[in-house]
């Protein structure tokens, strides 16, 4: 394990949190940009403009030891081997907890748009923001990789793993929040362990070589998963994506 970096708040430029148009469209099953009908193009442009004006991207991040991350998982009383993240983290070269958010203004706007029956506009802004939240986690992973490279560990593949996915229950956010205290950037948990603002993402950044992220997708919950996002992530980690 490398020398850990202290907890710190990360500020992003708005442009860093702006997802590429192709990913926004793909996530909605829409055609490519040049084949988009004019009224959908107008919606897309409006969604991106609203997002760009409202996004306030920020995060808090802290590198931690295996033992400390183990203590974050421990309250769940789930054996490590029953979780993807539990399977992966012992092979990591470095770990960092994170919580990132796009801020309160975007979810508030989405809520208002739905309330005003501006359904398509609300939907498009939500789609842009969902892609933006995922991008923010990727940006954090990139920054963590850069930090590790500066410390002499080049070519590490950093992937975020989040509660709510791959067997890690949403209740796992409670000990994660206790450890990281992200209230400083305005993110809190409700009684159901859901984050507010809504367009926030939390988890652990796992840094290692490509093989660090490999696992057999035969956990019990894998049979219920339709996204198979893990395949794309592993391909990227192995340099094939």
């Amino acid at each position: 394990m490398l020398r850990p970096a202290a907890r710190h708040v990360v500020r992003f430029a708005k442009a860093e949190a702006l997802p590429v148009t192709r990913e926004i469209l793909e996530a909605q099953g829409l055609p490519e940009e040049d084949a988009l009908a004019p009224r959908l193009r107008t919606l897309l442009d409006g969604g991106i403009a609203a997002y760009s004006a409202l996004v306030e991207p920020r995060a808090v991040c802290e590198e931690l030891s295996y033992a400390r991350f183990s203590s974050v998982l421990e309250p769940l009383a789930i054996p490590d081997e029953d979780l993807v993240v539990g399977h992966v983290y012992p092979r990591a070269q470095a770990l960092a907890l994170f919580v990132a958010t796009l801020g309160e203004a975007i979810p508030a706007r989405i809520g208002r748009l739905f309330g005003d029956d501006a359904l398509a506009e609300a939907w498009m802004l939500d789609a842009v923001a969902s892609a933006g939240a995922d991008l923010l986690a990727e940006r954090l992973a990139d920054r963590f990789a850069e930090t590790l490279a500066e410390r002499g560990s080049a070519d590490l593949r950093v992937l975020p793993y989040s509660p709510g996915y791959c067997g890690w229950p949403t209740e796992g956010q409670r000990p994660l929040f206790d450890a990281l205290r992200p209230e400083e950037i305005g993110v809190t948990l409700n009684d159901s362990c859901l984050m507010s603002p809504l367009k926030s993402v939390s988890g652990v950044l796992v840094a290692g070589d490509g093989e660090t992220h490999r696992f057999r997708p035969d956990f019990q919950f894998c049979s219920e998963c339709r996204t198979r996002e893990c395949g794309r992530r592993l391909a990227w980690a192995l340099g094939r994506g």
Partner: protein, 212 residues
């Protein structure tokens, strides 16, 4: 083109202002509100739903049409009440406790409204008791549940079990959906229905409520 056909056509184009204006014109011309609803708004939305099911149009197209539908419904609702015409049925819907993903649920809600159902949308992170209490309070014969996470799917079973425990089985039916949810899972937990997507959800709700 007949006025009702014009309403249906404008709705398919997602032209909110035109639908509102044409609906007002139809009511002003003395057409029964029930006819305007069925042969104008619902007919147009039915075409939109079918086009979406066949992947001929995209989700935002459906949403634009839905908003146009709402514009027409806003004109019609007082008349429908006067004529004693009820909507197709009432559905309580929500994303289960612990799940904040409500876009899929919102889409089902929008399409159900577009198909003429009254929707009581409880939002996301909805406790099992809240689903059942809303169904009882609203006298809704159907509870629709959505989950995007494998980790929150078990909450659906809790709702189905609670319906049984309260002696409401048969009176209040349940339907489940969401990315990780399958027909097998729905059977396993004893839900009355499962839908693989929003368009299928509308058809399944119609079948469950005998409103086809």
């Amino acid at each position: 083109m007949e006025l009702l056909e014009k309403i249906a056509s404008a709705l398919q184009q997602g032209d909110e202002q035109q639908v509102g204006a044409l609906t007002t014109e139809a009511v002003g011309a003395g057409l029964p509100a029930g006819d305007v609803l069925r042969s104008g708004l619902l007919a147009g939305m039915s075409v939109v739903g079918e086009q979406f099911r066949l992947r001929e149009i995209f989700l935002p197209d459906v949403l634009l049409a839905a908003r146009a539908m709402y514009a027409g419904l806003a004109v019609l609702k007082p008349r429908l009440a006067q004529e004693g015409i009820a909507l197709r049925g009432k559905v309580v819907i929500g994303s289960v406790k612990g799940d904040l993903h409500d876009i899929g649920k919102n889409l089902v809600s929008i399409l159900l409204k577009g198909a003429g159902f009254e929707v009581i949308d409880l939002g996301h992170d909805v406790a099992p008791e809240a689903f059942v209490e809303a169904a009882v309070r609203e006298r809704a014969p159907l509870i629709g549940m959505s989950a995007l996470l494998t980790t929150t799917m078990p909450r659906m079973r809790e709702v189905v079990d609670l319906v049984r425990q309260r002696g409401l089985a048969g009176q209040v039916r349940t339907i489940v959906g969401g990315a990780p949810v399958s027909a097998d899972f729905a059977r396993e937990i004893g839900a009355d229905g499962y839908a693989c997507d929003a368009a299928a959800a509308v058809e399944r709700v119609k079948a469950l409520l005998g409103a086809a």
